[in-house]
């Protein structure tokens, strides 16, 4: 009786177990002495040995059930529960095979009781897989000794049945010798066995039922899974198998272990940033582009170390780099939100281009990587990427932006949600690699102009000047987002809103852009910070419909754009000279200089969420930061829930490209996740595999449309 509690050590606690022991041993001994000789001679000589073996089995199981540690969990150390102070919740929810199970805080043991664990008030300790505290053995019945308790019950039942039966036979054969000692003893024995047979039989039957249902006594009595699904059952046969054949789990208390010492002496190694970046690049799934990975790694490290802006648009880049550097910031101005959108759009375009380039085996090299890597950095500031008129063909840059964007697209595809595609389409022209990606935007603009009229309502009316002016197409884009955000209630934005066609239509004059940009900024700042629910609600309803139409449009567009893509590549260096953008950059860099694109985007997140790009943004920005700059590590953590959510949702949903899945998955995952450490979604075990799987799924799901998009974005960017 390894009871440690005060109650278990009381003299009164030993009474039942002593009684049970005395009855069992005494009665059986009398049976063997007085009844078995006649049974051996009269019925069969094998009867006493069999009964003896059975009795030995009963004793062995009884001893194990009495003295074996039931699976007592040691009390948690103080370090473990220092975070779970007075503000810690009493219950924590954990998802077990789709069923919400509650873990209660144990005030005595200072930890959240694992599932099926319960605190025994008699023994004053928590027991794993707690069944009940059995007074007849004065011990808790739990994970480690339930098997022995059950076998004890089973064998005791058979033993009692055997003793009762054979004793009855003896009594019936010796009715003439009523007053003989043997007869009297046998009558006493069968009386005892008969008296306790019914309760023991009932208890055995009850535990047979529990085992078949996969429940413990505690769960049965408290009615935990009475009406619901029991996540712990594996079926009747498997439950029996688990009961009888599972390995004995280890004892946690008083483990005899040899003392091993590991000295921890400084100086300590630290994970290098440049070492991390290759790993992250690898985790991003750029396996097929080994060369680009290496080059991109180098480029990433170079960019990471760059505190000064890249050659093109210095001021915006500087500010952008700073914002990237402190990616986990939360104080973001609306300008940063805008830039985040630009970044996202650029990344989306790149990812699309990357896919196209892969398929076309047209991937080119290092400068593309750098361009790609720099573009997200610069992209935000380049939010005002203006759309060059398509009349500036620049075949020199045709392949470079295409490849860089391809890499970007590929990179973004690793992390982006399915909503990338619409965003990419619309943002394709936003991205601003140093070499200019405005040709694609111009292509988009061209195309959009064809479909312009229907979308005029979503944009500022000064469309005609769009093509010829540098400005903030992103502003228009933002206004588009803003419209979507404001129209979130509409729930039905036109799918074309994400298409290049639409984006082309939304291009505005610089003045209009500036004003709309400022409007956008102001709106960004006014947006509520937490829009998770809104995002979920909005994207679910919108993105599903959008994606369907988008995919169809992609295919159609691809055919058109591929023909045009080469003709529309042109660099637009002047895009970086947008005064409005530059004026905004210092403002962004100043107050939120330490913040990266992802955290700053709380305001723009509203738009992103409304457009379903948030998951992509959340995923890409920190990942971009980590892979491109790795200046902060906190950004990943801050966006990891969404990342994990998006990734896991994408992983779970496979080929689906709807951000609605992401949101729905996030909802389902957010609820059951254990909050013991951090409020993260625990559905994803690791962040790397979801990225990979997502990349795979995304690639496989959208090979064809991506080509179209890539060509479109190429043209637009050029």
């Amino acid at each position: 009786m390894p009871a440690s509690g005060a109650d278990a050590l009381k003299p009164s606690a030993f009474l039942p177990v002593c009684t049970a022991t005395c009855l069992l041993v005494g009665a059986t001994s009398l049976f063997f002495v007085f009844t078995c000789p006649w049974l051996a001679t009269t019925i069969c000589p094998a009867v006493p040995p069999c009964c003896a073996i059975l009795f030995l089995f009963v004793l062995a199981n009884f001893t194990m059930a009495t003295f074996m540690d039931a699976g007592v969990l040691p009390v948690a150390s103080e370090d473990e529960d220092k975070d779970d102070g007075f503000r810690a919740p009493l219950y924590k929810n954990v998802d077990i095979k789709g069923v919400q199970v509650r873990m209660k805080w144990c005030a005595s043991c200072h930890f959240y009781r694992p599932p099926r664990c319960s605190h025994c008030s008699v023994c004053d300790h928590c027991v794993e897989d707690f069944d009940h505290h059995c007074p007849w053995v004065n011990n808790c019945i739990g994970r480690r000794n339930y098997r022995y308790f059950f076998l004890f019950l089973l064998s005791l039942t058979f033993h009692m049945v055997a003793v009762f039966t054979f004793g009855l036979i003896y009594v019936l054969h010796h009715m003439n010798d009523l007053w003989k000692l043997h007869f009297t003893v046998t009558v006493v024995v069968i009386s005892i066995s008969g008296l306790f047979l019914l309760p023991v039989l009932g208890l055995t039957g009850f535990h047979l039922y529990l085992v078949s249902r996969g429940r413990t006594t505690n769960e049965q009595v408290t009615g935990k899974f009475q009406g619901g699904v029991n996540p712990f059952t594996q079926g009747c046969c498997n439950n029996m198998e688990y009961l009888v054949c599972s390995p004995i789990s280890p004892k946690y208390m008083a483990r005899p272990c040899k003392k091993r010492i590991v000295h921890v002496q400084p100086p300590f190694l630290r994970p290098g940033l440049d070492q991390q970046m290759p790993m992250k690049v690898g985790d991003n799934g750029l396996h097929t582009l080994a060369l680009e990975n290496k080059v991109c790694t180098v480029e990433l490290s170079d960019i990471k170390q760059m505190k000064n802006p890249p050659p093109l648009p210095p001021k915006p880049d500087r500010g952008l780099l700073k914002s990237h550097a402190a990616a986990d910031g939360t104080t973001v101005t609306a300008s940063n939100d805008f830039f985040v959108l630009m970044l996202l759009s650029s990344i989306l375009c790149f990812s699309q281009l990357l896919k196209a380039s892969e398929q076309q085996a047209n991937i080119k090299g290092p400068d593309l990587c750098s361009g790609f890597r720099e573009s997200p950095v610069r992209g935000i500031h380049q939010g005002s990427v203006s759309v060059q008129p398509p009349l500036q063909p620049n075949t020199v840059y045709s392949s470079l932006p295409l490849n860089s964007r391809s890499l970007a697209l590929k990179h973004s595809c690793r992390y982006g949600s399915k909503s990338q595609l619409p965003a990419m389409q619309s943002d394709g022209w936003r991205s601003s690699p140093p070499r200019g990606i405005f040709t694609s935007s111009t292509v988009l603009a061209n195309q959009s102009s064809n479909d312009g009229p229907p979308f005029n309502n979503f944009i500022n009316p000064t469309e005609p000047q769009l093509m010829s002016q540098r400005g903030a197409p992103s502003v228009n884009f933002h206004s588009h987002f803003m419209v979507l955000g404001s129209d979130r209630s509409v729930q039905c934005p036109p799918p074309h809103s994400y298409s290049p066609v639409f984006m082309g239509v939304t291009r505005q004059s610089p003045q209009a852009r500036d004003s709309s940009l400022r409007d956008l900024v102001s709106q960004d700042t006014t947006l509520p910070k937490s829009a998770a629910a809104r995002y979920d609600n909005f994207s679910k309803t919108i993105m599903a419909s959008i994606n369907e139409r988008r995919e169809l449009e992609e295919r159609e567009r691809m055919l058109h754009l591929q023909a045009r893509s080469q003709a529309h590549y042109c660099a637009d260096v002047g895009i970086y000279d947008i005064p409005s953008k530059r004026s905004l950059v210092p403002d962004n860099a100043g107050p939120s200089g330490s913040r990266g694109p992802t955290p700053p985007a709380y305001g723009s997140r509203e738009f992103l969420m409304s457009t379903g790009i948030l998951t992509y943004g959340m995923r890409t920005s920190p990942l971009s930061n980590s892979s491109t700059l790795s200046l902060t590590h906190g950004s990943k953590t801050s966006s990891s829930p969404l990342q994990n959510c998006s990734n896991s949702s994408l992983q779970n949903k496979g080929k689906s490209s709807s951000p609605a899945y992401c949101s729905s998955e996030r909802q389902t995952q957010a609820v059951p996740s254990s909050t013991s450490t951090l409020p993260r979604l625990t559905s994803t075990n690791s962040s790397a595999p979801p990225y990979t799987s997502y990349a795979t799924a995304k690639r496989s799901s959208l090979p064809f449309p991506s080509e179209g998009k890539e060509s479109v974005t190429l043209g637009a960017l050029k």
Binding site: H263, V264, P267
Partner: protein
């Protein structure tokens, strides 16, 4: 199994002789008067607990989610690899198969006396796990100022990662040598 670095805190100025005579640490404000002081340079800062993953029931699995506090201390893949290996060990230990059948039958046949003579399969795997954790600590985690604690010591509820900081760069007074020992409770 001892794995210790007797150099103590690095003192570039007195590399050769810091073990023999009191050396003055360049970073700390205090002076080490004996070897013992020089050796104790790391102090426990905090502990990170990797919780159990109950998504598949009560089988022993630990979450492979990377704690954010360890972002700056260790590469993500290393810790994930360790946790995945531990999970595979526990899965092997809890596997219901031929060996567990034989163990059960033998135990029944011998009235469980065999448990006094032979250790169970689970215990054997636990020893393997303990050795693996020790090796990981020596090779990977201790050089990074981290220390893993065998989950069995915590009732298989958490995988405890202790984070140490270089006391020498922060302050003057040395702290005790940090050791990971699985001792009887």
């Amino acid at each position: 199994m001892l794995s210790s670095m007797k150099e103590g805190c690095h003192d570039p100025k007195t590399k050769q002789t810091q073990l023999l005579k009191p050396g003055r640490r360049t970073k700390a404000s205090g002076v080490f008067h004996n070897l013992q002081e020089m050796q104790h340079c790391a102090s426990l800062v905090t502990k990170v607990f990797i919780q159990r993953d109950y998504s598949e029931g009560t089988v022993c699995r630990f979450q492979t989610k990377f704690p954010s506090e360890l972002n700056i201390r260790i590469e993500r893949t290393l810790l994930e690899e360790t946790v995945k290996t531990l999970n595979s060990y526990y899965m092997e230990a809890e596997k219901i198969g031929g060996q567990s059948y034989m163990e059960g039958c033998l135990a029944c046949a011998t009235a469980y006396i065999v448990f006094l003579c032979m250790e169970t399969r689970y215990e054997k795997v636990l020893k393997k796990i303990s050795g693996y954790i020790q090796e990981q600590n020596e090779k990977i985690y201790a050089p990074r100022g981290l220390l893993l604690t065998d989950p069995v010591e915590r009732g298989m509820r958490v995988l405890e990662v202790s984070i140490f900081e270089d006391q020498g760069s922060a302050g003057s007074s040395p702290s005790s040598t940090l050791s990971s020992d699985s001792s009887a409770r």
